[in-house]
């Protein structure tokens, strides 16, 4: 049993689904002969051929549109965005065409749009974005954000099998830094829409997803060690649909909530979570729901600047302490 990286787990998931279902195919910029900018699809074109691993022109909108058309005909396209920052170029296609297709026209559009998102890699304003909030607001889409090696595999497989369009935000910081042993026997599929308790706790709930799960776990550990308090970390895994039940169960247990996301504050997903908790479990709250997020600026390039803009483990520790003392 060898350890595999987050990236390798993702690869495995894609590979297995392509072996299983010949309707699954890949398209995107440099996904074929190059194997993708991050080499997620390296070797796929050799195995599955040029018809199932398609190098496309630089046209995010057309790639998504073409995926949608193929999906209407029963295929299962998986689109790579070279960086998730460029999904902005397909915004109209995703929000106006893809997301509405079933509702307005009864069309099935089972596509997956996946790619690297996130910062902490000194990528600057256009290679560090977390664009989930821009799509979170569009009914018809599902948004998936795997945090673990296991979920990188299990969720991509579930996304491909899902009958609704899924945007799949991988975190590039985790690609090669995160490793785990996935065993070999069972098939790993992680249901979309179910959160995961990454760490059990009783005094405070941290609600988070993607790379922030790891910073939150680090913070929880520090607090346990230094303060003796017990922090629960809830990894949402999917933002749309959101696992309200898991959120509320944790809130009812700990009565205090900190939401941590990497994206900037205003209009980030934390707002919605706050609203939902407030609507459903207001009486269970022993303190305000607080947020640790990036600041409201683009993500700057210099390490010192990026560190200032993005949330850090120490920020989570301090905020959690503040809430625990509330």
């Amino acid at each position: 049993m060898a350890e595999v990286t987050y990236l390798e787990a993702l690869r495995q998931g894609l590979w297995e689904e392509m072996e299983r279902d010949e309707e699954v195919f890949l398209l995107g910029e440099d996904v074929g002969r190059y194997g993708g900018a991050f080499k997620v699809t390296e070797g796929f074109q050799d195995r599955f051929g040029e018809r199932r691993v398609i190098d496309t022109p630089i046209s995010e909108a057309a790639i998504v549109g073409a995926a949608a058309g193929a999906a209407h005909m029963g295929m299962r396209p998986v689109v790579e965005m070279q960086f998730m920052d460029f999904i902005a170029c397909a915004y109209d296609m995703l929000t106006n065409y893809v997301a509405t297709a079933r509702y307005r026209a009864g069309l099935s559009t089972p596509i997956v749009v996946r790619g690297p998102s996130g910062g902490y890699v000194r990528g600057g304003p256009f290679h560090s974005q977390n664009p989930e909030a821009g799509f979170f607001h569009t009914p018809g889409l599902k948004l998936v954000c795997p945090a673990t090696v296991r979920d990188a595999k299990g969720l991509i497989k579930a996304a491909i099998r899902d009958d609704d369009p899924v945007i799949y935000f991988e975190h590039k910081y985790l690609y090669r830094r995160l490793k785990d042993d996935l065993g070999e026997d069972e098939e790993i599929i992680t249901p979309i829409g179910k959160a995961r308790i990454a760490r059990e706790g009783t005094d405070l709930t941290i609600i988070t997803w993607s790379a922030m799960v790891w910073k939150s776990l680090d913070a929880a550990q520090t607090i346990e060690k230094e303060d003796g308090a017990s922090v629960e970390v809830l990894d949402l895994r999917t933002l749309l649909p959101m696992d309200d039940d898991a959120i509320m169960a944790s809130v009812r247990k700990t009565n205090k909530v900190l939401i941590v996301h990497e994206d900037s504050r205003t209009g980030g997903v934390a707002g919605e979570i706050t609203a939902r908790i407030n609507e459903t479990a207001f009486e269970w709250l022993d303190g305000p729901i607080m947020r640790v997020t990036a600041h409201d600026t683009p993500v700057p390039y210099a390490p010192t600047l990026e560190d200032c803009v993005l949330p850090q483990t120490e920020d989570i520790v301090r905020s959690a302490r503040w809430l625990l003392a509330y």
């Binding site: 057309a62 998504v64 079933r102």
Partner: protein, 346 residues
């Protein structure tokens, strides 16, 4: 559509029955729009009404060049194409009146509906988006080695969109069996084509994508049929993507509410009097003695009866039940829960 029926008439690849069939669709398109105008004036159409007067020829003839299994995506003025593919007048009427019984159950308007079985995929409003979607449909044809072809329409105005460019380029480079019909009708809403692009001939855009293209008289039904048929056959044979610029004219305003003040009256009159696609087609059929006046009169009567029936059939259909609005945003869950305030007691 009466495909392959009967014996070909000289100089066309169409039989007499097919020529009459096209006459029927032309008459049906024009008359259905006239019915819609009446319903619009009576306030029964919800929202705007978009006419294809003077452009029915290119819609009907291009769609008529397809075979069963082929798929097209119409624009708002391609009523004729939809009808040829098998959309029913009563469906169009129901769509325009947002009836419960409409193909979209009142969720969407006018020609925005689809039946992939019959081979049409309704557009969405943002112009140009359907081109890459149709490219994707053609990609499925190619990957599956199916001998099917796609056809997509775009207006002179629509060619300015990034979506048009990305979509046609994608189809071209993948050599997908897609025919792109560029409808050069002089205007995009109020904007003349000369403010839309600096090229006087839209077909020059084909060159940018390395695909063949031709410009044809869009108001000559037989020319449109032949040209589309050629392109469709080549695409079916694996020759990739084609562009056809059909030159026509939008005789009505952008929509019924538009007073067309920006279109010179003489220009409109000129096209109406000397370049109406139905008049020209009818004249040819009669001149060539391919059909008789009586047959055309029969068609007119048939169209009228069918439309009377269609209007009658649906005019009193109810609007959809409001609560159905909450279904089908997703496959799973198939239903959006009514929000908390809708579950409170009155």
């Amino acid at each position: 559509m009466q495909r392959g029926a009967g014996v070909m008439t000289p100089t066309t690849r169409l039989s007499r029955e097919q020529l009459l069939d096209m006459s029927y669709y032309l008459a049906l398109t024009r008359s259905l729009e006239e019915r819609l105008v009446n319903l619009y004036r009576q306030g029964k159409v919800i929202g705007g009404l978009y006419r294809s007067l003077g452009q029915e020829g290119e819609s009907v003839a291009s769609a008529y060049a397809l075979e069963p299994g082929d798929v097209l995506s119409p624009l708002i003025r391609n009523l004729g194409s939809m009808l040829v593919m098998g959309a029913k007048p009563v469906e169009i009427l129901r769509q325009y009146m947002a009836k419960e019984t409409s193909p979209t159950g009142g969720r969407e308007m006018n020609l925005h509906f689809n039946d992939l079985g019959l081979g049409y995929l309704g557009q969405i409003s943002p112009l140009g988006d359907m081109i890459s979607v149709m490219a994707g449909i053609c990609l499925s044809f190619k990957v599956r080695d199916e001998s099917r072809v796609g056809l997509v329409y775009i207006g002179d105005g629509g060619t300015s969109t990034g979506a048009f460019h990305e979509g046609v380029n994608f189809a071209a480079v993948q050599r997908l069996p897609l025919v792109v019909i560029v409808e050069h009708n002089g205007y995009a809403y109020s904007t003349p084509t000369s403010d839309q692009t600096a090229t006087p001939r839209l077909v020059t855009k084909a060159k940018a994508y390395g695909i063949p293209g031709i410009t044809i008289d869009g108001n000559d039904v037989l020319v449109v049929y032949e040209a589309t048929r050629d392109a469709v056959e080549k695409a079916r044979a694996g020759a990739g993507t084609f562009m056809i610029e059909v030159v026509t004219y939008r005789r009505k305003g952008h929509a019924e509410h538009d007073d067309q003040r920006y279109q010179p009256k003489e220009e409109i009159a000129e096209w109406a009097e000397h370049n109406d696609p139905i008049d020209r087609y009818t004249a040819t059929l009669l001149e060539q003695e391919w059909v008789t006046r009586a047959e055309l009169d029969d068609i007119a009567r048939r169209v009228s009866t069918e439309l009377n029936q269609a209007v009658e059939e649906c005019e009193n259909d109810p609007l959809p039940d409001g609560a159905t609005a909450l279904s089908r945003a997703y496959a799973r869950p198939p239903q959006v829960e009514p929000l908390w305030f809708r579950r409170l007691d009155g």
